[in-house]
């Protein structure tokens, strides 16, 4: 899938969770959302993007969530 499409979807998810008062919980719930609703191939692709491009084009909190919960998301 085109990475740009994944970034748009991930950023929308970030828009929702960034209003959480607790950023730790927000990052955890972003990762949970990706884990629960995105196919593994899509998760692997966005992880690769975060690692290769330092999360370019990605909402900061989403990038942080992916880095923080990488192990969960990659399995």
């Amino acid at each position: 899938m085109q990475t740009q499409r994944l970034l748009e979807m991930a950023n929308q998810i970030g828009d929702f969770f960034q209003s959480y008062p607790d950023p730790v919980e927000a990052r955890k719930d972003i990762a949970n959302h990706l884990k629960k609703f995105w196919a593994l191939s899509m998760r692997e692709q966005i992880i690769a993007h975060v690692e290769a491009q330092q999360g370019a084009g990605l909402h900061a909190i989403v990038g942080e969530a992916i880095k923080e919960h990488r192990a969960t998301l990659a399995s």
Binding site: Q2, R5, M9, Y20, P21, A39, S41
Partner: protein, 948 residues
């Protein structure tokens, strides 16, 4: 054929019972019951003409008179309530004399053509003539009469023959009480009294063709044309309508294997004997000449179709799936289920994907309508379903409708809602458009919050702000029933000044004072219920809005009892059911995540195959990957993504890119034009199964005729599965339901036998609730404590600009259904032959657009051309259309924008420009050429796509 018993007047529900004597028999009934009904319930028939148990008593025909000891005269039994100790006589010489006299008068002005009358054998006037022993008419037939009154045949489905009218007013009362349209009246007085539909004929009137008047008519005055043409039915089978999410129960009245008419079932839990123009009359598509009944295959969409045997078609499809999975991997294949299919059909498709394809690449058309409901209500309340029964609305004091148009989308429920509104319930409507309920006969919204499309979340946060800052929260409820920490976070968020109505007014366009008044009414007006539709879900913040609605209900304690709740109005008949059955790529049946080890083990054991613990692809994911050459085959079961899904060009490019598209449908739909295998499907009249409506009501679908394609749809899926090496050995749809019940806790107590016994069942149905659960979350939420979510308004990325200055929003109309595949093949096209674009007079004038002009609508995604209709229903800056006709290309202009949580498309917000044009768009010209070629490839008549 046994007719349903007519007790003459409606049933009364009362705690107190009253005992009286009727014709020497002791009879006990609820206090307030009419003498007529008490008699009928005791098996004592009282003659009647103007009374019927679907309508309040009227007391005009004077045929139901009785004698009551100690009372003077001959009171009408329909309008006389029972009293304790009352002694009633229904048959005396004097009563017989009066009744014969009354009948003489009626018959003196009635055609004596009983033997050739369409109602012969089904006429209450005829029955009453017999019942009262009428042997002569002393007045003769020569006097002034109505026998030459002109027949009105304008309605495509029924005729109005005033020569046969006895002016009992049952039709007028049905239009008022049952339907709530008030299209009929009694015009004139005395002998000149006649039923009138406005000043013209039925088609030119306000009549919505619901059939309530036809149902109520005791003579042949209002009569189905199908009965006039074919005669009366000889047997009847109770089944469930295949149209909207109300899920009306109907008696299919048959002659052999031919449907003569569909009559709404008085015992139907969702409809109580009412119907709409679609369910009542628009079933002709089931035998339409466009039906394809022989399987077809082809190598390429550039090739003509080849008719083949079922074995050949199934083996070809199986071999292609096998080849593609070997070549491209198991994840290169998936399936789409449809909300137009039964629970059993959907269940076997998702089982095929999970157990045989070996992935979770199954999705459903709810993806593009109510997937945010599933997500939002699961998060907040713990269950992906509406909380109430439809009947619950009769206990509501305040009704809030958000982004729904019930009179068009859910007409039978709208009639019930209007009844409650006429009784005095208050009404708040949040909608960019002035839907009918904003102002219709005897119904006027107390507040119409006319928001700009795309600003729902601003609206809900502002409503919440008022409730929180003005001290209207039901704190006792919140403390007892909800997660307090989540409430506090939400409360602090909505209380911020930036969430006030005044601060959000520039975004939403809703007057702050009006919004404040609406919020106060919702929070303090008594039982308050929210009903919502696709105007909530089909947005980039659809899921946020659903959670916002649940927040509001929890904060005010409006959940967990009759009269309140959160009520998604589901578009199609089985949206709830298709989701219940595990159609989503992340869930097994019963909304259990595929990563849940215990659930997965249960299904692995039952199905004997290892199952994936990873969510599969959603429809838009599949289409994106197909366009990139990474997703190669799809089994599309009863769904037409080429017409219904957004950004048509993107969808058709994806379909063209696949190596095997398998479509199972009644017709060569838009998706089938891109298919390589066509499995002809069976109509709802040709199969057994169940539908689950918007109130979680599981209702039986019963086979009334032999499938024209040779088998029921679940059998096709089962045979495909067998060809793929995994036999599904069900003998009947009931076997599938038994498996569902074994594996799904909320369906644990459901079986076909129980549905036969109870008529319908609202899930959860289990040991605790053996007869089902009408109202959910009564003592606690399914998730335990209700959870509040912060609903930050995030404006859509679909921005209005100088190039695209208007917002296009889309919706439905009464006479057509979804992509129109069914209703376009019925006489319903008389009301809607083409999709129009509604435009406000100011916007039209600015562009020099006149009523009926062709206008081009251009968005960032594409362009199409429709005829304009100029109306103040839409606000300036907003245009509106429907997508019932494929050639309209409404989804050529909608974009890929979608809900953040579920990818539900943002159909409701597309930035467009509109201008007068003189010819069709390029897309429409290409479409015309392509579809004509595809129709020829299938050997169908050239007018297959035309409306008939």
């Amino acid at each position: 054929m046994d007719k349903q018993m007519d007790y003459g007047t409606p049933a009364v529900i009362a705690d107190k019972q009253v005992t009286l004597e009727i014709d020497g028999r002791q009879v006990t009934v609820a206090a307030g019951t009419s003498v007529m009904r008490a008699s009928m319930e005791a098996g004592i028939t009282v003659p009647k003409l103007c009374a019927t148990d679907s309508l309040e008593p009227f007391g005009s025909c004077r045929l139901c008179l009785v004698e009551i000891e100690g009372r003077r005269g001959y009171p009408a039994s329909c309008t006389t309530p029972v009293d304790a100790g009352m002694k009633v006589h229904t048959q005396t010489p004097k009563l017989a004399d009066i009744r014969r006299g009354v009948m003489e008068l009626y018959i003196s002005d009635h055609p004596l053509d009983c033997l050739t009358c369409a109602a012969n054998g089904d006429c209450e006037l005829q029955d009453m003539a017999g019942a009262v022993g009428l042997r002569e008419v002393r007045y003769g037939y020569e006097g002034e009469n109505h026998l030459k009154a002109e027949k009105d045949t304008s309605n495509p489905y029924f005729t109005f023959d005033p020569s046969k009218c006895i002016v009992c007013s049952r039709c007028v009362r049905a239009c008022e009480e049952t339907q709530g349209t008030f299209a009929l009246t009694i015009h004139g007085r005395g002998f000149d009294s006649k039923v009138a539909s406005g000043t013209g004929n039925f088609m030119d009137s306000e009549c919505v063709s619901c059939g309530a008047c036809v149902q109520a008519c005791p003579t042949a005055t209002l009569m189905e044309k199908s009965v006039i043409e074919q005669g009366l039915p000889e047997h009847s089978v109770t089944t469930t309508c295949a149209y909207c999410g109300v899920g009306c129960s109907f008696n299919a009245e048959m002659r052999g294997e031919e449907v003569i008419r569909m009559v709404p079932n008085k015992d139907g839990g969702a409809n109580h004997g009412h119907s709409c123009v679609k369910g009542r009359f628009a079933w002709g598509y089931t035998t339409h000449k466009d039906r394809i009944t022989t399987p077809m295959i082809r190598k390429s969409i550039k090739d003509p179709w080849q008719e083949v045997s079922w074995d050949e078609a199934i083996n070809y499809a199986a071999s292609e799936i096998t080849r593609i999975q070997r070549q491209y991997g198991k994840d290169s294949v998936g399936a789409i289920t449809s909300s137009r299919c039964t629970n059993e059909e959907v269940y076997v498709v998702q089982k095929l994907v999970r157990a045989v394809f070996g992935s979770n690449n199954v999705d459903t058309c709810a993806r593009v309508c109510h997937s945010p409901t599933g997500y939002g209500l699961k998060q907040t309340l713990g269950e992906s379903a509406g909380t109430q029964t439809f009947d619950s609305v009769m206990q509501s004091d305040v009704i809030m409708i958000i982004g729904a148009n019930p009179t068009d989308g859910h007409p039978v429920f709208a009639s019930q809602m209007k009844r409650r509104l006429r009784e005095g319930a208050k009404l708040i409507i949040a909608d960019p458009r002035a839907i009918d309920l904003v102002s219709s006969p005897h119904v006027k919204a107390d507040h119409h919050l006319k928001l700009r499309p795309g600003t729902n979340v601003a609206l809900i946060s502002a409503l919440a702000h008022v409730i929180v800052t003005e001290g209207l929260v039901n704190e006792a409820f919140v403390r007892e029933r909800c997660e307090w920490d989540s409430f506090v976070a939400w409360r602090d968020f909505v209380a911020k000044p930036e969430n006030s109505p005044e601060a959000l007014e520039p975004f939403s366009g809703v007057d702050a004072e009006e919004l404040r008044a609406a919020a106060r009414l919702y929070a303090t007006g008594g039982n308050a219920a929210i009903y919502y539709g696709l105007g909530v879900t089909e947005h980039s913040q659809g899921s946020t809005m659903v959670m916002g609605i649940a927040n509001l209900a929890m904060a005010t304690g409006n959940i967990g009892r009759e009269g309140v709740g959160v009520n998604p109005l589901r578009g199609q008949n089985n949206v709830q059911g298709s989701c219940d059955m595990g159609s989503m790529p992340h869930e097994f049946p019963g909304y259990r995540h595929v990563s849940d080890d215990e659930t997965r083990a249960l299904f692995e054991q039952a199905w004997g195959r290892p199952l994936s613990n990873d969510p599969g692809l959603r429809i838009p994911n599949m289409l994106d990957l197909a366009g990139e050459g990474k997703f190669k085959a799809i089994y599309c079961n009863g769904e037409d993504i080429a017409q219904s899904d957004p950004n048509t060009q993107h969808v058709t490019h994806a379909l063209e890119s696949m190596e095997c598209v398998i479509v199972q449908d009644l017709f060569l739909n838009e998706t089938a034009m891109y298919a390589h295998v066509f499995f002809p499907g069976a109509s709802f009249l040709e199969k057994s199964g169940t539908f689950t409506n918007a109130e979680r009501r599981i209702s039986p679908v019963r086979r009334v005729m032999t499938p024209k394609n040779g088998m029921e749809d679940w059998e096709i899926t089962a045979r495909l599965s067998t060809a793929l090496g995994y036999p599904m050995e069900y003998q009947h749809a009931s076997d599938i339901m038994d498996e569902i019940a074994r594996l799904t806790p909320t369906f644990e107590g459901v079986s076909f036998a129980k549905l036969d016994e109870l008529g319908s069942i609202q899930w959860p149905c289990n040991d605790t609730h053996p007869n089902g659960t009408p109202v959910m979350h009564v003592d606690e939420f399914v998730r335990g404590k209700g959870k509040f979510f912060i609903t930050q308004y995030v404006p859509t990325s679909e921005k209005v600009t100088a190039r695209f200055p208007l917002i296009l929003t889309t919706g439905r109309i009464l006479s057509q259904y979804n992509v129109g595949a069914q209703t376009r093949r019925t006489a319903n096209v008389a009301w809607h032959q083409e999709d129009l674009i509604e435009i406000h007079p100011h916007d039209a004038e600015e562009r020099g657009i006149q009523e009926g002009d062709w206008v081009g609508i251009t968005s960032r995604a594409g362009e199409t051309v429709l005829r304009a209709t100029i109306t103040e229903r839409v606000q300036p800056g907003v245009v509106y259309t429907t997508f019932h006709h494929p050639e309209s290309g409404a989804n050529v202009i909608t974009t890929d924008n979608s809900d953040w949580a579920t990818n539900c498309p943002e159909y409701k917000v597309t930035a467009v420009q509109v201008a007068r044009v003189t010819q069709l768009s390029d897309w429409q010209t290409e479409y015309q050429n392509f579809s004509e070629a595809q129709i020829a490839f299938a050997g169908l008549p050239a007018d297959v796509a035309a409306t008939e």
